[in-house]
């Protein structure tokens, strides 16, 4: 559907630096999430969290194709999206711990991180809860003519929710610049998606005349390439698109979901980690292409590690909001 003239410059002009930036972001998400798991295990984090480990290439590949002022909406499994869109780990950890310094002053927690500065309209704990918001942001962008687009991230579980179809109809009728990114990690909580999803996923968008693509969500280059094209197409006024990223979460549905054999096998998990790890795939390619030596990647890794550790320590040390903040920010 995209013509050559509409091909984004970005995809063509990406060089080593950009791939290393994406590598750094993926590592950053991975290490952030490992810390989250650790905070949970050490009983330092209130409530639960849904880890993005294994799916890093999706958020990073897509968000790299966005402008800083573009919008995203995110999900319960949202830390990766927030970080990839530019959030800083310290205020994110602070939010996860319910601290005043958090992005939402502690009021949102893991599932509600939002940040106007990075165009993050917010993570959402209602499955498909943000599809309307994302479509509305695209509606504003079109009306205001500011050239922005919105990416709506959701898991394949959201395909069960009717509101997704309502807004895809609106988006296509009105040619809104919104990209629906379906992260198919194979499971709706504890149920395999094949038990909940009739027909072919791509048809769910093409039914509305919306172009749909499917990519290997573990390959950040593939994600970036596909996302860039669909995003530029939307930016040029050609309307919405649908991108399925096939991926896998390495951990449980949430940090407390430890015994998973009743719904998926250890072998399956092992296979994905061994054969489809987004970090390994990118680092291997970088090495093959001579774009980065192992030492470069190691350096990035240790830099990020330090950053993340500093961030988590910042959050642990940060104060809670005072109880009387409970009645602030109900109304603007």
């Amino acid at each position: 559907m995209t013509t050559v003239a509409q091909q984004p410059q970005a995809a063509a002009s990406v060089g080593a630096e950009a791939w290393l930036r994406m590598y750094r972001q993926m590592i950053s998400i991975r290490l952030f999430e490992e810390q989250v798991n650790d905070l949970y295990t050490r009983a330092l984090m209130p409530g639960l969290a849904h880890l993005y480990i294994g799916e890093e290439a999706v958020a990073v590949g897509v968000c790299q194709a966005l402008r800083p002022d573009d919008y995203i909406t995110s999900t319960h499994r949202g830390h990766g999206h927030c970080l990839a869109k530019g959030a800083s780990p310290d205020r994110m950890f602070a939010e996860l711990l319910g601290k005043e310094a958090g992005y939402c002053r502690g009021k949102g927690g893991s599932m509600h991180i939002a940040d106007p500065a990075t165009g993050n309209l917010g993570a959402n704990a209602i499955v498909a809860g943000s599809v309307g918001i994302a479509t509305g942001a695209a509606f504003s962008a079109k009306r205001l003519g500011n050239g922005r687009v919105c990416v709506c991230f959701f898991g394949e579980g959201a395909l069960g929710q009717g509101s997704l179809y309502e807004v895809m109809n609106l988006a296509q009728l009105w040619k809104l610049p919104v990209i629906y990114v379906c992260e198919n990690n194979l499971y709706n909580e504890y149920t395999h998606f094949s038990e909940t999803t009739a027909g072919d996923i791509m048809g769910r968008a093409t039914a509305f005349g919306i172009p749909a693509e499917s990519v290997d969500g573990q390959d950040v280059r593939a994600v970036y390439r596909a996302a860039s094209q669909l995003i530029e197409r939307a930016r040029l006024g050609n309307g919405p698109a649908f991108l399925v990223c096939n991926t896998y979460r390495y951990h449980g549905h949430h940090v407390g979901d430890i015994n998973r054999e009743y719904y998926r096998s250890k072998e399956e998990e092992q296979r994905w980690k061994a054969e489809h790890d987004p970090l390994k795939l990118l680092s291997r390619w970088l090495a093959e292409q001579g774009l980065a030596a192992p030492a470069d990647l190691e350096r990035i890794h240790s830099e990020v590690k330090k950053e993340i550790e500093a961030a988590v320590n910042f959050a642990i040390a940060a104060p809670y909001p005072s109880p009387d903040e409970v009645e602030q920010d109900i109304y603007a």
């Binding site: 309209l121 994302a134 504003s140």
Partner: protein, 330 residues
Amino acid sequence: MPEKGRELTFAQAIREALAEEMRRDPLVCIIGEDVAEAGTPFKVLSGLVEEFGKERVIDTPISEAGFTGLGVGAAMTGLHPVVDIMFGDFITLTMDQMVNQAAKVHYMSGGAWKVPMVMRTTLGATRRSAAQHSQSLHAWFSHVPGLKVVLPSTPYDAKGLLKTAIRDQNPVVFFEDKMMYKLKGPVPEEDYTIPFGVADVKREGEDITLVATSSMVQVALGAAAMLEESGVSAEVIDPRTTWPLDEKTLVESAKKTSRVIVLDEGYGRYGVTAELAAVIAEGAFYDLDAPVRRMGAMHVPIPFSPPLEDVTVATEQSVFEAARRLCGKS
């Protein structure tokens, strides 16, 4: 409230408020089913699309959840949408978007995002529209922190409150009694707004207070006129917004008259009458001479058959009788 001058219908007042706000602020737009050329089935919006174009008066598919959600996102990102839900009965389809999204975005984000949107919808029975087109479900939204809920009862209030709603930076739900669209009343030419959370004394009186919302204000005023003839002086108070709620004015009137009837067209059970009665019973505890009497819709799905439907809501006659009984007059 103006005594003289120009008169408009309730529907005209709504339309004028929208037109003026759309002229004032190019970010205001209207989104809903059959809002453009059709001007809604109630013709409330007739003429707006001609002035503001299809870019700002936007017909949607029949997707209440979808376009309400779109309104939330549009409000967060720079527009000021007025979302039109044709019948109040269809808010059932928008509860997730209104309650889990619109109402909570500002708070959950620690104040980072805001949602300046208005939902306009209807309430009211006795239109022979049966159970799925006759409900008054404003109690649900009144129960939800983060929303404001407006219930105008006159053309004057409708215009002034709708302007306030559109200028508010929060999600506001605006309920219009569909049986009142043709009601006429004075509306000045000049720009004015009416603040939320300020009850209006629609009529002063000494012996009994009738607290009434929306459609029930007119019923209360009719009953008050009847009561006057029978020697009972009734005060009629309209809270105008159920949230924020002007407790003070309600309680003070109750203290003055010492007898109160609370009227609302929503179901009485677990509805608006319960909150208002509880607030008054608490605030005027030492001054009440009789229990607060609640008159909401009968606790049944609204029936179609006219003789059945007619008994489900309070009437001037039934309020008159209840008030006389409460005053020990029969």
